[in-house]
């Protein structure tokens, strides 16, 4: 199969079959290029923020000036000139008051093209499913997808949030963080920076100074959020960094499931994306956070693509609280991302399920931290890394148990799959146990797709690429199952697309 002819054939296939690379031609408002205190003031002013918020940003900016960018990750890229970026870009049409009917049709069209319907009636009517193939779940039953409320963020601003009224009936707050600052300033003030402080790290510091928009969720005590919440991030403007900030709070006994998706146009220059996500779960609360990250990965030669430098952290603040991260990382030229959980509450639980696929010249350095502070806290890590092309794919993780975290438990499974001999797969776990009653188990394997499996699939009629996609989908199944049903089918397809051109 892998004879020279096939290799040559595959080489002619373009690696970058990125389907979301189109650009929306829309007039934007920019902040002046570069970064200084005035830019921070400009952004805060644009958003009509209270004084305390501006002070908070300035404090972050001043501490950022003294920070250095981290160099420990296994990624390399040219030095970023932070004065050569725009820190704020918003479609001009957004200045008008927004209701769905008044939104610039170009924006609606953009989201429709991305497969994200923003009109509630369309979602209800199931427009989204038209022309889409049905899918089977693992039991062979047809999957009926449910409703999802969406906050659509375009460059630096939130375009619209759907299903607001219905969520309001359930007392769930779901809006852009700019709106939350206006409507619920006390909640924002109480929680913002309480999990990821301004000075946490270089990129989080930068984000704290210049973050533009993002989503805010508050689920009050005892409320189970009636639908999936989702934010869709779209980077469009050129030379513009995207710095969104997401804050999700599940109060006592609340439950929420949240999903973010991201895409960006195909560009020759690299784009910076430095987001911060903070999750807070109080007593008996549960937050399930899923990401399907599909930023533009750059072309086969590593030109362009998004630098995805993201700080995501959850705080299991109350007893028996639970935070679960699920991520599917297929995009971005460089990924630097470690969604973590601080297991502060007794009997709290943290989970991290990850699929990271790298192809072309992508570089992924991703993993998690599970910091056990509470008694009987438990965590589970399942990481599936797939390296193809000339990419590098690193799992980096920390599991630690504080002395007081008696009877803490962790189970970690890290599997890597290599496709081709030009890529690298690396595993860098850190395990720190300071209490004898903690039980930590860590396992890692690295292997390749066996020739036998390939032949078996092909002898049943699958093409080489279909066979790779199928086997990889099997390899990542444990993680896929953690995704909300609505996104499983799309993710499976995305995995296939990401690996196109990887065989040979």
């Amino acid at each position: 199969m892998a004879d020279q002819d096939t290799i040559e054939l595959v080489k002619t296939i373009e690696v970058d079959k990125y389907k979301y690379g189109f650009e929306t031609d829309i007039e934007s408002d920019y902040a002046p290029k570069g970064l200084n205190e005035d830019i921070v003031r400009f952004i805060s002013d644009k958003k009509g923020e209270p004084q305390w918020m501006l002070d908070w940003r300035l404090e972050a900016y001043r501490s950022w000036l003294h920070m250095e960018n981290p160099t420990w990750a296994k990624v390399s890229f040219p030095k970023i000139d932070y004065q050569d970026l725009y820190y704020y870009a918003a479609p001009k049409s957004m200045a008008a008051p927004k209701s769905l009917d008044e939104i610039d049709p170009k924006l609606l069209e953009t989201y429709a093209k991305l497969g994200i319907p923003l009109k509630e009636q369309e979602i209800l009517a199931g427009v989204r499913k038209q022309g889409e193939k049905s899918m089977l779940d693992d039991d062979g039953n047809e999957v009926i997808t449910g409703r999802v409320a969406i906050d659509a963020v375009f460059d630096s601003v939130s375009v619209v949030t759907t299903f607001k009224d219905e969520l309001k009936k359930a007392d769930v707050i779901f809006c852009s963080i700019s709106e939350a600052l206006r409507e619920h300033p006390d909640l924002v003030k109480q929680y913002l920076g309480s999990v990821v402080p301004q000075g946490d790290n270089f990129y989080a510091g930068l984000n704290s100074a210049v973050f533009s928009d993002g989503s805010f969720v508050y689920v009050p005590p005892g409320v189970r959020c009636p639908m999936e919440l989702s934010t869709y991030f779209r980077m469009n403007a050129k030379n513009t960094g995207q710095f969104e900030r997401t804050l999700i709070i599940a109060d006592k006994g609340a439950y929420v499931s949240y999903l973010e998706g991201c895409t960006a146009p195909t560009r020759e220059e690299s784009q910076l994306h430095a987001a911060v996500v903070e999750l807070i779960a109080h007593e008996d609360a549960e937050i399930k956070y899923s990401t399907v990250q599909n930023w533009y990965p750059g072309d086969a030669e590593g030109k362009g693509g998004v630098y995805n430098f993201v700080t995501k952290r959850g705080d299991c603040r109350g007893a028996r609280s639970k935070i679960s991260w699920t991520q599917v990382e297929t995009g971005s030229a460089i990924t630097w991302k470690y969604p973590s959980v601080i297991l502060r509450g007794d009997s709290s639980r943290g989970e991290f399920y990850s699929i990271a696929i790298s192809n072309g010249k992508q570089q992924v350095d991703s993993g998690t931290k599970m910091i056990h502070l509470g008694k009987n806290s438990s965590s589970r890590i399942v990481s599936k890394g797939i390296a193809a092309g000339r990419s590098d794919n690193t799992y980096r993780g920390l599991v630690s148990a504080h002395r007081k975290a008696t009877y803490a438990r962790n189970f970690t499974q890290c599997d890597s799959l290599l496709i081709g001999d030009q890529c690298g797969a690396h595993t860098v776990p850190y395990i720190e146990s300071k209490t004898s009653t903690a039980q930590f188990e860590h396992e890692a394997t690295t292997s390749k797709i066996s020739d036998d499996q390939m032949f078996y699939c092909m002898s049943r009629g699958l093409s080489q690429e279909e066979a790779v996609a199928l086997i990889v989908n099997g390899f990542v199944r444990d993680v896929l199952q953690q995704l909300p049903m609505e996104f499983m089918a799309e993710t499976q397809k995305l995995i296939g697309i990401s690996l196109e051109g990887s065989v040979g």
Partner: protein
């Protein structure tokens, strides 16, 4: 349907020749049994016909429905109607058997320019065939061959055959590792697929399987060549006398 002429095959990495001038003609509706001692080249024949990598054809030809089979990728051969029931079916973790059947069937239909089956039609189609092979719904949900017993693996292979409806079925030692009850189930499944436009090549070491899948022709393969051909009675002869006669002949 299948025309093998003077086929010479060696391993890519080794100079040793395994098939040394094998010729065989199979017509639609016929069931050919290929019997032979260990190491005679039986499995090699099945792999070369289905297109596994690692073998080099140094001479001869194989035409299938008038086309050169050897030029095709394994998946093209499958789409054209070649099916190999593996002696040792491969495990594919994480991929449910049902999902696998759907992907395989649709890939073949697509390659042939046919429309994909609708979900309900597909489900009905599979369930019906699974029931005949004593394959439970639960088994269809399990990942392909993972944790299957020997008998389950063989039944799953026959189910794939029943679902994919190939025109040439190659059964490689399908009887190995089966007890008599499982053998009957598998044989019934195979017999149900016998039809005037479908041919079968049944590769086996023992005559036992041929009591249940009665062949039209029996060939003895020894040292890479067919050394004797005959009717089904040849199998009984072999059972009585063993392969010694043929092994010595070549030696």
């Amino acid at each position: 349907m299948l025309e093998i002429q003077n086929l010479h095959v060696k391993l890519e990495d080794e100079p040793r020749e395994i098939l040394k001038g094998l010729s065989l003609t199979v017509k639609p509706g016929e069931v050919h049994a290929i019997m032979g001692p260990n190491g005679s080249g039986k499995s090699t024949l099945s792999y070369v016909l289905s297109g596994r990598a690692g073998y080099e054809v140094t001479d001869g030809s194989v035409s299938f429905k008038g086309e050169n089979l050897l030029e095709m990728d394994p998946n093209m051969r499958a789409a054209k109607g070649v099916f190999l029931a593996f002696q040792y079916p491969i495990e594919i973790p994480g991929v449910a058997t049902m999902q696998f059947l759907k992907v395989a069937l649709n890939a073949q239909r697509k390659a042939r320019g046919e429309k994909e089956l609708s979900i309900p039609d597909f489900m009905r189609f599979v369930k019906e065939r699974a029931a005949k092979l004593n394959i439970s719904q639960e088994m269809l949900k399990r990942p392909v061959n993972v944790g299957f017993s020997g008998g389950e693996k063989k039944r799953a292979e026959i189910l794939q055959m029943a679902v994919l409806e190939p025109s040439l079925c190659i059964l490689d030692e399908t009887d190995s590792g089966l007890d008599i009850d499982a053998l009957k189930v598998v044989a019934d499944g195979v017999n149900a697929l016998r039809s005037p436009d479908r041919a079968m090549i049944v590769i086996t070491h023992y005559q036992r399987l041929l009591d249940y899948i009665v062949p039209d022709f029996v060939h003895v393969l020894s040292a890479g060549k067919i050394v004797k051909s005959g009717g089904k009675e040849l199998a009984h002869e072999l059972e009585a006398n063993g392969y010694a006669e043929f092994v010595e002949k070549v030696a």
